[in-house]
């Protein structure tokens, strides 16, 4: 039985067994986590198993993959001036080193596997006061950039620190009743960065 035959059968199987509603569909955040390659393996397999049998989720995942992949392609171009400067400096050191740097991609690693783990606020915490954000130290980190986003994804505040805590008191207004997202990007001494997963909290 060739691939086309199996595909035909599989398409029919998917169409015939399609979920009748979206009640069991994974959350959009899970689909995004797959597109960003930061979902833990066990959960990833469960979600993908559903997605491959659910046309609606497949289309949503394809859309998120589109946005994520385009974002990944956009970022290097904005790093280009820095890479060019680095290349120019290294040119003085030696052609061999230059070749290695020019062909190097800065590693961007996301998620808990990379060690960029958020500690507090815990996911979904409802707080009375502007929080103190805490995360685990990351080996090799030169410093950290912490970004807090509003409900619409707007950047509310971006802070840079060499510490692993930062208080938001007096830094920005966080109107009550809203949900906020935050993440940490560790910039590594040897170049590249590591990103945490996105944390969420509410202010009461």
């Amino acid at each position: 039985m060739n691939d086309d035959t199996l595909r035909t059968l599989h398409d029919q199987l998917v169409a015939r067994r399609a979920p009748s509603d979206r009640a069991r569909c994974p959350e959009p955040d899970d689909l995004l986590a797959i597109a960003e390659r930061r979902l833990a393996e066990a959960r990833r397999l469960v979600v993908l198993e559903h997605v491959v049998g659910c046309a609606a989720c497949r289309n949503e995942l394809d859309l998120l993959r589109t946005v994520v992949d385009a974002g990944g392609d956009l970022t290097p171009a904005h790093r280009a001036p820095w890479l060019a400067l680095a290349a120019a400096i290294v040119l003085m050191v030696g052609a061999g080193t230059l070749w290695r740097l020019a062909n190097r991609e800065e590693p961007v690693v996301r998620g808990a596997d990379a060690g960029a783990v958020l500690v507090a606020p815990a996911a979904g915490d409802a707080l009375d006061a502007p929080p103190v954000l805490i995360w685990h130290r990351i080996d090799g980190a030169r410093d950290y950039r912490v970004e807090v986003l509003g409900a619409g994804g707007a950047l509310l505040v971006a802070l840079e620190t060499a510490d692993t805590t930062v208080s938001l008191a007096g830094r920005t207004e966080l109107p009550p009743g809203a949900e906020y997202s935050w993440w940490v990007r560790a910039r590594l001494s040897q170049g590249g960065e590591r990103r945490s997963e996105i944390g969420r909290f509410r202010v009461r």
């Binding site: 035909t8 398409d11 198993e49 491959v52 049998g53 859309l63 974002g71 392609d73 707007a154 950047l155």
Partner: protein
């Protein structure tokens, strides 16, 4: 919405144009719905203008900001469509068979194009496929099903957060496993590939 200064406008439009090109290119590659992609790009534009109006500096709107705005807009759109229980995102796409759908002959048999050596109706064949898939190791099953759903190895690797070599291995070994299981269930291949 008052227009931002021209230099901001030019810088932002340049960034948006570049991002839009990348998104449309990725959309073609990922078979994403173009109308939905346009909707997202429009929402990204609105969010970026609003950010500038709130006092964000144009040079503080790097690629990562555009990326976050696009992701956020996409999630909002998906959640909104789920809430409205609309037919989401070109749902009919998968329901149309990729290949010409096999038709039962007068005796209710799967045509020879399915490569079976026994008479079995489509529902039974699907049931066997379902059972065979269920018996497989999860990683192989998911890789094989993504392959059968039309995803390329590069896409499978990305979705499974693995290398392309590992994805290829999972798909090929998985397909062999699947064929062995189908054969043992009586849905015998007839040397068609």
């Amino acid at each position: 919405m008052s227009p931002p200064p021209d230099d901001v406008s030019v810088a932002l439009e340049r960034l948006l144009a570049r991002y839009a090109g990348l998104v449309r290119s990725a959309a073609r590659s990922h078979r994403a719905d173009e109308a939905t992609v346009d909707e997202i790009l429009q929402e990204v534009r609105i969010r970026l203008w609003r950010a500038i109006e709130r006092g964000e500096k144009a040079d503080a709107l790097p690629a990562s900001y555009v990326y976050r705005a696009a992701v956020s807009a996409t999630l909002d759109l998906i959640r909104g469509r789920r809430r409205k229980r609309e037919v989401p995102l070109e749902e009919s796409r998968l329901e149309e068979p990729r290949l010409e759908e096999p038709r039962l002959d007068d005796a209710g048999a799967i045509p020879a194009s399915l490569g079976t050596d026994r008479t079995v109706d489509e529902e039974a064949a699907m049931e066997l496929l379902d059972q065979a898939l269920a018996g497989m190791v999860a990683t192989r099953r998911v890789a094989v099903r993504l392959h059968l759903a039309g995803y390329h190895l590069r896409e499978i690797a990305a979705m499974m957060d693995s290398s392309e070599a590992r994805a290829r291995n999972l798909v090929y070994r998985g397909l062999a496993d699947l064929r062995t299981r189908l054969t043992s269930m009586g849905l015998n291949p007839r040397g068609r590939g």
